[in-house]
């Protein structure tokens, strides 16, 4: 934040994640709050959200697992494997923990299309894992579009009959859609829960602090739209509405938060927003690009 924009509410939003995380860590260090157990469950997806989280910087992943949380389980990152890992996962039931879930739930044939491990000699389906761990978690956070609404895993023809976790659990799910979820969106939400409880959510259960504004409304290329200056192909520095940009229907703070530690974002790199954080992605956001509409 510079002198020029310190009063801008949009720019102030940028500061919220690191401030929240700092407060949470400060509170833990001063024993005002306690470290929370964090379980990261990967279901039917691509592991893109945990990779995205590794790219976080407010704080970085190392600080997240050492100073903010007890990182109990993630199949991609934990040292334990096999039965030992599953033991850790199921032993958390009964304790106080936050469950972060990425990936949709495959429901066909009682979930047999996605086995996430074996425990006590039995295969454990993603369906069973989310049902048992979800119901006893103090908070459930759907990280990414697949966990939130089915996403790519549930795209037509959806052979494994995938659904978002809200179709399985009978409790409130905090949704952080995005393909992938921005690390700030997860860390900010987690820190808010630790400090103040559930953040203010919109009608689709997305935290307002990240999902309140249409991309189109804060897009740096909005003046091009207002003046009818449209790109006809990728690479043209103009509004990409005519070639199918979904910024006008997608609510995230990508234009200001950007990605890869504030390096850039899709429209900044001359590709249209594909609405990856929107309900109905990907089927209802297609076609991602149209060349014959201008």
């Amino acid at each position: 934040m510079t002198k020029d924009n310190f009063n801008c509410p949009t720019c102030l939003k940028m500061e919220n994640v690191s401030l929240l995380a700092q407060k949470a860590i400060f509170g833990i260090n001063n024993k005002n709050i306690r470290k929370i157990n964090l379980v990261w469950l990967e279901l039917t997806g691509c592991s893109g959200n945990i990779i995205s989280l590794l790219n976080g910087s407010k704080p970085g992943f190392k600080k997240l697992i050492l100073n903010m949380t007890n990182f109990v389980y993630d199949n991609s990152l934990m040292a334990a494997e096999g039965e030992a890992a599953m033991e850790k996962l199921f032993n958390i039931i009964g304790s106080d923990y936050i469950l972060a879930v990425e990936g949709a739930v495959s429901t066909k044939d009682n979930g047999l299309y996605n086995i996430i491990g074996r425990w006590k000699g039995e295969p454990v389906t993603a369906y069973r894992a989310i049902t048992e761990l979800g119901e006893s978690a103090s908070y459930v956070i759907a990280v990414g579009t697949c966990a939130s609404d089915g996403g790519i895993s549930a795209a037509n023809p959806n052979p494994a009959q995938c659904v978002g976790i809200d179709r399985i659990l009978q409790k409130k799910i905090i949704k952080l859609p995005g393909c992938p979820c921005h690390p700030d969106w997860f860390i900010g939400t987690l820190a808010h829960i630790m400090l103040f409880g559930e953040p203010q959510l919109d009608q689709r259960n997305r935290p307002l602090m990240f999902y309140s504004t249409l991309i189109h409304d804060i897009c740096p290329r909005r003046p091009f739209f207002n003046n009818g200056i449209f790109a006809s192909k990728l690479g043209e520095p103009a509004c990409m509405f005519k070639i199918g940009c979904r910024g006008p229907v997608t609510r995230t703070d990508c234009p200001i938060r950007k990605w890869n530690q504030e390096v850039n974002w899709p429209i900044g790199d001359d590709t249209p927003c594909i609405g990856c954080a929107m309900l109905g992605f990907p089927d209802q956001m297609e076609p991602f690009i149209s060349y014959d509409t201008i």
């Binding site: 189109h216 149209s290 014959d292 509409t293």
Partner: protein, 145 residues
């Protein structure tokens, strides 16, 4: 609204004609000046009413998309896909709207729907009761095939 303005303009013109008749016969310079002032006021009023009429007419034209609303059959509507230099039209409740420059219709598509279609059912299921349609330019109405 238009009719009442036209009626007011007609009344003003009648008054002006009467003032002009009076002016022809009046000899007193003081009275003549008063009549000329009255005439100027009446001209000014007519100008105001004409401007108002023009504004109303542009608003109606803007909403109608053009001076003469189009009547398109559903088969003709299918050509207006927003592709190959054609505008993007949709129909809701037999009214045809131009969504070529509506931001939510990027690439002439909207949540899996394409322009050139009657989207009444989809509109009612997602936006029923909302005032979205009032902001869209109308180009005409659907005629039976």
């Amino acid at each position: 609204m238009n009719d009442s303005i036209i009626s007011m303009i007609t009344n003003s013109i009648n008054s002006m004609e009467k003032t002009i008749d009076d002016l022809i016969y009046v000899k007193d310079s003081n009275t003549k000046r008063k009549l000329i002032n009255r005439l100027k006021n009446q001209v000014s009023n007519i100008k105001l009413m004409a401007t108002e009429l023009q504004t109303l007419s542009s608003t109606i034209n803007l909403q109608m998309g053009m001076d003469n609303p189009q009547r398109l059959s559903r088969t003709e509507l299918e050509k207006y896909t927003g592709k190959d230099s054609m505008p993007a039209y949709i129909a809701v409740d037999n009214v045809i709207y131009d969504v070529s420059n509506v931001s939510a219709w990027g690439g002439a598509t909207h949540f899996g729907l394409s322009a050139g279609q009657d989207v009444t059912a989809q509109f009612n299921s997602c936006h029923g009761g909302q005032s979205i349609l009032q902001k869209l330019p109308i180009v005409g109405e659907v005629a039976n095939d």
